[in-house]
Symmetry: C3
Subunit: 304 residues, 3 copies
């Protein structure tokens, strides 16, 4: 592993290794406090994403490293008129690792072809966001003990949700996974995901329109936002919108060991009252996001 | 003490303890150089304030800690559509301490209800700016030896000046303080400050319209800006504006041990010629601002 | 040396000392990894320049120091209504060294008059950019062994190019230098550079309009951009533009030990195919830029 631009680039062995390292970091934080001492991470955010940037920066700092970067293209002259290869070679002269967020699909991959230092894709348009997928997998693994033998519900906008597509691809590599897809008709999962991922990998799956009808069968519920603008007509929106809002009422139907995940930020799709339920795992997920990034940085810099 | 959102939240004992720690840091900077090693401060500036941000960041770094943050809402996606509690819980997963500047009154207090890590208010609209008040108090204490037994003049816009209101509340808790309020009629101190703070605490005070008539009696002169737009008419502005500009001519009337403070930035209310007068303390005040923030961070993180 | 605002402020001895220190840092990076521990650099960028800012920040971090700063005036309140002396004295209370980029000529020099900490000019309008000149000189010295006894070609916009003017002044202090000026007539070097620098210092020079006619005689070729807008008429532009684009075809005529430099960013004046030629030194130059800044910071802070 030299770069990380697509979560599927990682073999199952590399994934397991990262999860193991993340767990070791969680349990022995002091041991890793200066493994990146003298190293520099560059965060090149061609579009703003504060939480992802913070997560990477805190991860690097908690390993003893330092950070340079820009948080939006406006404040950066490198974004005007310079080719990505030139920017990458320049920044790679200052930094030991580059984390790149870019509105154009494939920009981080293109950057990796010209880079002497490792490149991590921190989101490229609607395409990939591999460290979010790693975060989701680590959270499931740490809370459930394993990623296998689970019924996983994915709820909300399954059509445009980059995070959901990547997660389905990732979990389809594990044993005995069942997938339940909960969304309005307009926002159902794309056909190619069903054919090329679920069916091809023999993953049993079910498509439903409401959370209530399936919540009792779930081990993991992955919530995402449903944007009003994505509905075809107001009537459908009014009829369905409450079906995609998780609240204590709906949770009464769920298993006592359900784990609720969300990539955040949320708008109103999880009621704040749920935050106090022990099944709510989305803030733990934030923390796991930082730890998996620590593991990834440590591996890419070959310091752990 | 877990958070600092209002300077009056601190008891006199907590204040004294902070001043003592600040003094110890000033005298033994080497001893504190790595007490925050491995800790992260997040600076969430929902409105820009470069000098306050720099002061906190330098304070954290001089204690050996590191910093993540944003300096204005534009470059931050967390400011769009996410609730403050969600942002705070997310950022609190990465950082050990959060410093928050927000245009809305009460935002830092509201944040503190939902935070697992300490919150420091770095200014919330026209409301509070507690570390400025701590800075003012430490400066007076260090230069005068004590905050008691002083005649303190406050000059300029006393009506809208947040800094001045907080300072009056703070000094009204000390012994034998006299307050002289110097401002145009339009910009006099609000009635509630007089009734609920000065009169209630038996603080003798005097309201005057010009600096010249009282400058000879002052031990401390706290200058603030008078904005032209705040005057009711041009004639009053022209008649009075020079009364609120401190220059060497007016300083001839003052005591030889007067201490001149200013929260900065200044526009023209202190003539640059005054900067070389030994009574000018406003740049020392900037330095004390960093030291009191070092003390505050160290206490909140329980590392000193 | 207390500040660096103009590259010509440095004596030949100070230059040699900096080059020697830079070389020592390159060869013994571990020895310098914490010489700036506990020190803070402030980067005040009143206009954005990401690569220059990154270079300084990485330099400081690779010496073990930390950084505060702003990357553009918009996010900074210090840029509104506060005088440069006040800003400098405030920031100098937090930081040990200030790097300043400003659109106005002379702003860093003016700042240095009021500063208690060293000021480094990181570019002031079309005027000076001394660390670029130091970078160019170190690159020549490290690659050629010495800055003397060389034929140096400067190609592109020689009329408005700040970098080129500074470099000519700098190399005119060395022994046995020949200068070849390659530019369209409209963008020839200003008369005062010819009279006051080249002729006065007895530097042989030649002015030509095309790269092809002289490239075989060069030891160093310093490329800069030619902007279409700078031409007087379209016909001239079309006739000449290819003469200022370096490609493998033109390089066939050049010496085998030619060194190609460019201050970057480039647009199209060096074809990407040239990047793989061993004579291309502009990415090495980026790295030397970081090392000379490390040397400069270490000297100004008196830690090496």
């Amino acid at each position: 592993m030299k770069h990380l631009t697509d979560p599927m680039d990682l073999s199952m062995e590399e994934l397991e290794d990262l999860f193991k390292l993340a767990k070791n970091i969680i349990n022995n934080q002091e041991d890793y406090r200066s493994v990146c001492s003298g190293k520099i991470l560059a965060t090149l955010f061609y579009e703003p994403s504060t939480r992802t940037r913070f997560s990477f920066e805190a991860a690097m700092q908690r390993l003893g490293g330092q950070v340079i970067g820009f948080s939006e293209p406006g404040s950066s002259s490198v974004t005007k008129g310079e080719s990505i290869p030139d920017t990458i070679r320049t920044v790679g002269s200052y930094a030991d690792l580059i984390v790149m967020r870019h509105p154009k699909e494939g920009a981080p991959k293109y950057a990796s072809y010209h880079s002497l230092v490792p490149i991590v894709n921190a989101g490229d348009g609607g395409h990939q966001h591999p460290t979010q997928t790693l975060t989701d997998l680590l959270t499931i693994k740490e809370i459930k003990g394993e990623i296998s033998n689970l019924t996983i519900g994915l709820c909300g906008d399954l059509k445009f949700g980059r995070t959901v597509h990547s997660l389905i691809k990732a979990i389809s590599r594990y044993e005995n996974i069942k997938v339940i897809l909960i969304s309005p008709k307009e926002l159902q999962i794309p056909e190619y995901i069903k054919k090329e991922i679920l069916i091809k990998n023999n993953i049993p799956f079910l498509e439903v329109e409401t959370l209530e009808e399936v919540i009792d069968s779930l081990d993991v519920l992955y919530m995402t936002r449903v944007q009003k603008e994505r509905f075809f007509n107001e009537a459908d929106y009014i009829r369905l919108k409450d079906s995609y809002i998780l609240d204590n009422e709906k949770l009464k139907l769920a298993k006592s060991d359900l784990s609720i995940l969300h990539p955040l930020p949320r708008v109103n799709e999880i009621s704040p009252e749920v935050d106090n339920d022990p099944r709510a795992c989305y803030f733990k997920q934030v923390k796991y996001g930082m730890f998996i990034r620590m593991a990834l940085i440590a591996r890419l810099l070959e310091v752990a």
